[in-house]
Symmetry: C2
Subunit: 348 residues, 2 copies
Amino acid sequence: MTKKVAYNVAVVGATGAVGEKIIEILERKKFPVNELKLLSSERSAGKKVSFNSKQITVEKATPESFEGVDIALFSAGGSVSKQLAPEAVKRGAVVIDNTSAFRMDENVPLVVPEVNEADIKQHNGIIANPNCSTIQMVTALKPIQDAFGLSRIIVSTYQAVSGAGTQASKELENQTRQYLDNQEMTTELLPVKGEEKHYPIAFNAIPQIDVFQENGYTFEEMKMINETKKIMHAPNISVAATCVRLPLFTSHAESVYVEVEKEGLTVTDLWKVLVGAEGVVLEDDPGSQLYPTPMSATNKEDVFVGRVRRDLDKGNGFHLWVVSDNLVKGAAWNTVQIADRLIQNNWL
Amino acid sequence: MTKKVAYNVAVVGATGAVGEKIIEILERKKFPVNELKLLSSERSAGKKVSFNSKQITVEKATPESFEGVDIALFSAGGSVSKQLAPEAVKRGAVVIDNTSAFRMDENVPLVVPEVNEADIKQHNGIIANPNCSTIQMVTALKPIQDAFGLSRIIVSTYQAVSGAGTQASKELENQTRQYLDNQEMTTELLPVKGEEKHYPIAFNAIPQIDVFQENGYTFEEMKMINETKKIMHAPNISVAATCVRLPLFTSHAESVYVEVEKEGLTVTDLWKVLVGAEGVVLEDDPGSQLYPTPMSATNKEDVFVGRVRRDLDKGNGFHLWVVSDNLVKGAAWNTVQIADRLIQNNWL
């Protein structure tokens, strides 16, 4: 099979926070697009979106929308993916899905290109894009796993509201203004849309992202645990997660503790493997107060790592601070990367 | 020795964030005050502060200020404590010091009344009040240590700006308004006053609290590590900390992982010891989205614990979410509690 020169691409959820970012990246990266189809729910259909200096009208997504589409990028929620992704595949498209709908399906590769690019080849029409907080963590940990082996991960997250969609960012802005103006805060959405209780996020920290599972963990925490094992091909690695929503608009940070298999390593050993790693930027110099923050990582494609230090008790334990833009590497850019590797490797 | 009916009390740093809170609590708790002396730097001297419906003029703190003082509560920075606390002791006062000046001095008890009240008795004139993030963690963990033994603690903090003083709260407010108004943010203070680099805290997360040590940890992280071992009388416990400053005005939260010595425990076993513990309030019901947040803990004296769950891999590992008001239990209330126990036990 020879590569086409350009591809018909569909973006499902084109008016959402991730969809908008995907369109921006397709344009900026000069992705080989022949025709771009922008799809959404009925509510957003009719809106116009600019792409490569042309105005494209958003259409309501239906099974027939995918006729002639080569690559379909889904980020319109799990139920939309469950309903329409198989329809797109049936019509010959390869789907890259940003929701949790197919991530743990053993017939669906779950991919972070820097970590498990080769898994893309195994696809049966659908490739899943991992959860944002998982993507940045495995990108940072992959070079450590490769060089030294990884036996344990304990992560506490510092997550931005944009992971919960455009409305959540609006809610943070509104509540912040209300709080500063001594007004009562309007709490309608966070932590989870549609759930019974809502807590203010402005000047607060909410230890709940997504719904609770029977075991007391949230679904977000279980995503980090299960997806990490699948992407890293390491079912025996111990992973524990605590996920916390914070008053940040963009970029997630993570306090990550790891235990490596190799004994006697120093911080310099970890620096050496991180500094050359694909998709990773090391920003780590306590002497000059250099470390990444959510604000410094925003609108960038890389995963930034700082504060690498050895555990003071456990010889093979290390602590790291991992930051990345949750809408870019955590969603849109990882999706476009997968699409690009599909093409470059002739795996479409 | 018989108890006096009322005591001459001095508050050093009376116009700071913690000093103001101490005065408020002395009044609200009807602490047996005979004369209240409010002391400060030259800059704040002359200000008037209300206490029990009287106006008290703040005076410049000098060695002579402590003549006739029974109990002196210091929270004006480490250098002030180092200079003036010995002068107060020389004049017969017992000092309760909120700074890090004497905390690790082996002749100075470091006290959280719910954890190690009896240590107060060993004082030689000075009793140290621990770091805010340490206080709430050891209060929550003490009942677990007593019931089951504790071998390991890994904590990641979510800390409010008021821990860095009134100016830091002002900086958060200013930057937040600037950001929402699309203006450039003024960064002058955080993460550490007087350090070379300053980062915005509004809508951001800064993984630096206090200055860096040679080992790559910050001084705040080392305080949590060393103070926890001293307060809990557990030099062999493994403690690791990552301390992060967030855009919260008040109350710190902590994601705490612990390993207990006893095997086979369930979440219910931990709930049972936490629910009856002094100074601890259990707010933990995932089914009804019940957990503490910094906002729900603000202006309260207790330490709130939620999200208790078993580690999915390590049988004796548990995760907790611990929240408390950093200015109340984390500083002022713990200080007044120590003063109260001094009196009640005739240890003055």
